[in-house]
Symmetry: C2
């Protein structure tokens, strides 16, 4: 557990958007930098499906964060200038309340009794965190991937509470290709007999299903172009082969295996199911009746939407749609298409392309 982690406990009963309630749900977050005297330099980051609130290293927790090169002193989200708050999503398993948390009413983990999570619920609790810090207006609201959709929900529900909106590799809603992939990942987990309808021992459960889901995730987070350059037809060295003709043969298989090994055990399977579903369900059209109406509610003084040409999960035309929609009611809205070859994950790895526009957008 990160020693830099802070907690906000919602005081009372929290009503979930799709029904059900949570009693005093907790939200984990981390902060970097100092809140200015005018309380006008706060930047909130919502995360993708799997990261914790540990976006960057700090004095209290020196482990590199998931967005280490983006967040820190003199980095694009500059912690010398900004008071940065990264929020672990409700439904996750890194400190915030989720299906793996203990239900105070029963003394047992919620598991599938946890109410359906929407990204609006995540955003609403994010807003509560901000208010608990006595910040009325954010300097910037930032979200990549699922966090981008959470930021859109926040922006649509709380217009006028932030200066700048930065959305990376997200969309107004999931399209069927991405939904199909996520549904298949969930099915891999649910079909694993060790899932046992969500009732598995802590740290155990559907390991095979999680490994398969992670591998499919890795395939769809990256791109064919990157892997052609990176692996080509490289084979696993003979001494690492098992002799089984269906076992690892190509380097790309070995790469996926390593990623699956790293992920498994870190992320709770039920939490994964809930947040994966939350991504599918999200639709900005719920905020006004249509995508246009939903995006028109986002009254951003200044916005930047970044997309990547090789993104399979949120194709770049979805970021273009976002920028056009937000432009209806907003001040300056920019759309930036990057030529990164790392697909959906580019915002995590192609830092040379992503740092400059993020820096410029927040700095000027």
């Amino acid at each position: 557990m990160s020693t830099a982690r802070k907690y906000f406990d919602f005081p009372g009963t929290f009503e979930m958007r799709r029904g059900g309630v949570l009693e005093t749900p907790r939200v984990a977050y981390e902060t970097w930098g100092e809140l200015s005297a005018a309380r006008d330099n706060a930047v909130v980051i919502f995360t993708g499906l799997s990261p914790s609130a540990h976006a960057s290293s700090s004095q209290e927790d020196k482990a590199p964060g998931w967005w280490e090169e983006m967040v820190g002193p003199s980095r694009p989200i500059d912690t010398r200038k900004f008071f940065v708050i990264c929020i672990n999503s409700l439904g996750s398993c890194f400190g915030s309340t989720g299906p793996a948390s203990v239900n105070p009413a029963t003394g047992e983990a919620y598991r599938l009794d946890f109410p359906l999570v929407t990204l609006e619920d995540v955003a609403n609790l994010g807003r509560e965190v901000v208010r608990s810090l006595t910040i009325e207006r954010l300097y910037a609201l930032v979200g990549p991937s699922m966090g981008g959709m959470t930021a859109l929900a926040y922006a649509a529900m709380y217009p006028g509470t932030y200066e700048r909106l930065l959305i990376l590799s997200a969309g107004a809603r999931s399209m069927p290709f991405a939904t199909a992939l996520r549904a298949l990942q969930r099915e891999m987990i649910r079909r694993d007999p060790d899932w046992n309808n969500g009732d598995y021992p802590e740290g155990g459960g559907p390991i095979t299903g999680m490994r398969l889901a992670r591998k499919l995730g890795m395939i769809t987070y990256r791109s064919a172009e990157e892997w052609e350059q990176r692996f080509g037809r490289e084979r696993v060295p003979e001494e690492r082969k098992s002799g089984d003709s269906f076992a690892l043969d190509f380097e790309v298989e070995s790469y996926l295996e390593a990623h699956a090994n790293k992920f498994t055990g870190q992320f709770d399977p039920n939490c994964y199911l809930y947040l994966s579903r939350a991504s599918d369900i999200f639709d900005i059209a719920e905020h006004g009746g249509s995508v246009e109406a939903g995006l028109a509610r986002i009254n951003a003084p200044k916005a930047l939407v970044i997309g990547v040409v090789t993104d399979l999960l949120f194709p770049v035309h979805q970021q273009e749609e976002l920028a056009e929609g937000i432009r209806q009611s907003s001040g300056s809205v920019e759309f930036l298409e990057l030529a990164s070859i790392q697909g959906h994950d580019s915002f995590l790895v192609d830092m040379d392309r992503f740092r400059p526009p993020v820096h410029d957008f927040l700095a000027d």
Copy 2:
């Protein structure tokens, strides 16, 4: 079983490219049309991974074939003009010898004792079928998808034995993105406890693994663009919902479910593993030391390579590479890029785009 099916039994011991032998392996095929007196109008079709030899309906078998709109009287592969031969791949389960066949040495199914299948083995036995019909030279050699790689193997090993080469949505070899997807499909099957290391009852076995693999197949055979147009955010009607919050919700999930149901039980899981692996292993570079050298061996008097811009498995630059490589040593070589939105499967469904170039290439 198709009543139009014919069989060729290889007389004796067949040596497999990667080691091992088969005793008197059988190849199933179907034919349409009449062989001309000059024996110069034969067209051979190699298939993708899952189809049988039943490419089109006939008097003997009126069921529509997998390429019904392409093969038949007055269709692009015109059975009034051509003697068309479609070959079921070695290793498949639709009449040709494969892992599900009985090993004459033991009286039991081969299962994992079947030797590793390569597309060269498939091509070699295809060549034997052609010779058994006393045809020395083909008018055309045609292959979509995996069948395209089989046709490339045939062309490289038997140059000068055909007039025209038509390759659709294939490549000189699998690239790592496609390999990763196929490796994951195989893992889904192998991780299913009912696979039981290949030892399952006939018609039974890893049903869950096969369903998951088929769903991933369907996702990667089509394209995001098509599904956006086709499904958008359509939900399953309320009366078809199960009430389980992780069950079917979006129409695209229901579509995949229907396809998985249709496929399962039709295709033998071990056969699937063998042919999937054969696709990964194939590399034209084995025929000469490099992709260029391999393609230079293909001395095609006339060739056409067709690719589709939305193909995820064999991206269109792979067809361009094929055309350029074949051009080194061949007569007229054309590369055609089609704007179909149905991805890798376009050659099966976007017939309005595929029929005209296939017709023109074979007719003129």
